[in-house]
């Protein structure tokens, strides 16, 4: 596997691929009089495209637009404020993915609360939250359950583990998101013109190739399931432009070794056992019906939203344009706060601090001040 990874980042393979993509993009430009516009749906793709230099190499030829696939960034401000407020009560331990720690709430971050003495723990292995609950029977342990289809299975595993061990002081604050409803939202809104999607390899392991067929059948747009190494990214882009040139929409699985047609059935069964669809609020978009997953009523004892009430006021209004960044309407540097009032040490919106945020990727890897 390591050998394959090395090959995937080998410049002798990748540099000719860049040339090939540029050639294909020029062909597109000649035919349609504009650059091909592709959306990378996933935040990990945004980061990988920026970190490896693919975005920079293609900036004159391909319009790569970051999509709504960073789980922290799409969480609406009220939810973020609620999660921060959860930590304020006594006798609680809040467990979270690291990404959430620096996300700005209306008044403070979870990191601020931790510094002020609240028991907030970043877990490397989320299932450890159940262990934390077992070790602290006199405290309520709440896991902040954000994420897309890549992360949601882990949340169900946690519930399964809590059930197995008979733990009653563990619950999850669910604010999960699904890929399909938000892609439909973007396509229905028609605010951004796209020639194709780069679909995330890891989400697709769960969902399977066939799950994207609605893109072709209903929207006549292509999607290429793409990995995260340099050569894989370039091949995904090449294939997307090639499809756009033919005018023939299709779903192409460029990650066939690990993405099957129907996805991971065991995970599907777990998700069906524990979860049910619910309406979810998205940052910069609002509520999208049936766009998230919540625990089924029979698992309410593990559902923090059913067990605890949190009161938060109206979110503080800022000039942050994360919402438009998420919808692909502007690039991060078009936000007036970018790099000035908003930077990683003083983030105004979540996109600047999440490990998958497009503003963070842009700030870290794409500023051209040399």
């Amino acid at each position: 596997m390591l050998e394959i990874l090395k090959l995937s980042n080998n410049p002798e393979i990748c540099k000719p691929l860049v040339e090939a993509v540029i050639e294909k993009a020029k062909e597109f430009q000649e035919k349609f009089g504009r650059k091909p516009a592709l959306m990378e749906v996933c935040g990990s793709h945004t980061m990988a495209l920026a970190r490896t230099g693919v975005k920079q190499c293609l900036k004159d030829d391909v319009n790569l637009i970051s999509g709504p696939g960073c789980p922290v960034c799409v969480t609406d401000q009220r939810s973020i404020d609620a999660m921060i407020a959860l930590a304020e009560e006594e006798n609680r331990i809040i467990c979270t993915f690291g990404d959430m720690m620096k996300v700005p709430g209306s008044n403070k971050t979870l990191l601020d609360s931790k510094i002020a003495g609240k028991d907030i723990r970043v877990l490397y292995a989320p299932v450890d939250a159940v262990k934390v609950a077992e070790e602290n029977p006199d405290k309520e342990v709440i896991f902040l359950g954000i994420g897309f289809e890549t992360t949601i299975p882990i949340l169900t595993l946690m519930v399964g583990e809590a059930e197995k061990r008979g733990i009653n002081n563990f619950s999850i604050w669910m604010t999960t998101k699904l890929v399909e409803p938000v892609l439909r939202y973007l396509l229905d809104a028609g605010e951004v013109n796209l020639d194709g999607f780069l679909l995330p390899g890891h989400v697709s392991i769960v969902l399977g190739e066939d799950s994207y067929q609605y893109l072709v059948d209903e929207y006549h747009i292509s999607g290429v399931i793409t990995g995260f190494e340099t050569a894989e990214l370039l091949m995904g882009i090449y294939k997307s432009i090639e499809l756009a040139l033919t005018g023939h929409a299709a779903i192409v699985n460029n990650h066939p070794a690990i993405v099957s047609k129907t996805g991971n059935q065991v995970i599907h069964q777990w998700m069906e056992k524990y979860l049910t669809k619910c309406d979810e609020a998205w940052r910069g978009i609002g509520v999208i019906p049936q766009s998230g997953l919540d625990l089924k009523p029979e698992f309410n004892r593990y559902n923090a939203k059913k067990r605890f009430t949190v009161e938060v006021g109206e979110p503080r209004k800022t000039k942050c344009r994360c919402g438009e960044v998420i919808r692909g309407l502007i690039s991060p540097d078009e936000c007036p706060l970018f790099g000035k009032a908003c930077h990683p040490m003083n983030p105004v919106g979540p996109c600047m601090v999440s490990a998958e945020g497009s503003c963070a990727a842009y700030y870290q890897y794409m500023r051209e001040s040399f």
């Binding site: 990748c14 490896t52 230099g53 970043v122 490397y124």
Partner: protein, 333 residues
């Protein structure tokens, strides 16, 4: 002897006396200085270098080292990269009540061992005991004294084309300590690089006057240290991603957690910026030492105006590297 440190070990009475005798003097030895409140030592005429550092680490013992080895090597390295020959160390301990004396003995033994290996004497020390819960096990401060030799050292004057060398693989310490905390849920087969570099770096300085600067990239990692040099001396540096020495295991952990080896701590590595024509010979010298066997050139000074650090990706594009901004947290997916 008692098994655990108690508050009485810090009150200056009989137990304090026994602790010093059975733990510290047992390992560090007992010179004339032990008879007085201050150590008295000879130094040659000239300039001395003084540095101090406090060591707090979790866990206290980790693959490849301990807080004791780290407290000696870390301070020795600060002197060595400054171009000074380390000669004396002092140490101060803050110990939490209830700390196992057997662990303290191991730590002190590691310190004595590292000092002996590097030819440095530990000449003064202090111990304080705090109530249980007021500290996390043990904290150690060491102060180091080094001597500058005449006409030897770093010029701090840079030229375009100067080579940037690193003495081995980066991120080993950061990943080893992370793994040793047992929170990752995976076994990480990596040892910390914790080591004293004084003999190796002294040989480099013996050989050439072409060294511009040496630094040890500890907290904040290679990138943060290079950014500091770039800004302090107004030089623009370019390093090549493909040339960065990173162990596969370190790559793996970083990929998994979303960390960047450029920002992970090292405890036995030196950055050496040296005149272009001297780089091969300096590499040869470094590679003769176990702690320098993986030394490589990672980039060069490319300009003198802006004070920036650039990274060239394998695709040939360049990006700006900045200091580590806050703590790195593991990512969601």
């Amino acid at each position: 002897m008692e098994k655990y440190i108690s508050l009485a070990h810090g009150d200056g009475g009989e137990l304090s006396h026994r602790l010093i005798k059975d733990v510290f003097i047992e390992s560090f030895g007992d010179g004339d200085s032990a008879l007085f409140d201050a150590a008295s030592v000879d130094i040659p005429v000239g300039r001395i270098a003084v540095t101090t550092d406090s060591f707090v680490i979790k866990p206290i013992f980790f693959p490849g080292g301990s807080i004791g080895k780290l407290a000696v090597a870390g301070t020795i390295n600060d002197l060595a990269v400054s171009g000074a020959k380390p000669v004396y160390l002092t140490c101060g301990f803050v110990i939490e009540e209830g700390f196992p004396i057997s662990d303290l003995k191991k730590i002190v033994h590691d310190m004595a061992n590292e000092a002996k290996k590097t030819g440095v004497s530990i000449i003064a020390g202090d111990t304080k005991v705090v109530e249980r819960g007021s500290a996390d096990g043990v904290y150690i401060n060491t102060t180091g004294i080094g001597i500058y030799e005449l006409n030897k050292g770093c010029s701090l004057e840079f030229e375009e084309g100067d080579a940037i060398l690193v003495s081995g693989t980066i991120g080993d310490h950061g990943v080893a300590v992370l793994g040793a905390r047992g929170e990752l849920g995976i076994t990480v087969p990596i040892n910390s690089d914790c080591a004293s570099l004084n003999r190796m770096l002294a040989e480099v300085l013996d050989y050439t006057n072409g060294v511009r600067i040496m630094r040890d990239p500890t907290r904040g990692g290679l990138a943060t240290t290079l950014v500091e040099i770039a800004e302090d001396f107004r030089v623009t540096m370019k390093i090549n991603e493909l040339d960065l020495p990173v162990k596969e295991e370190v790559h793996g952990v970083c990929d998994l957690l979303g960390f960047d080896p450029l920002y992970l701590a090292n405890e036995g590595k030196a950055i050496i910026i040296v005149a272009q024509q001297e780089k091969e010979k300096v590499l040869d010298i470094l590679r003769e030492y176990p702690e320098g066997k993986d030394a490589v050139v990672i980039g060069s000074i490319v300009g003198k105006e802006k004070g920036q650090l650039l990274l060239e990706t394998p695709l040939g594009s360049k990006r700006l590297l900045t200091r580590l901004s806050g703590t790195m947290f593991p990512r969601i997916c």
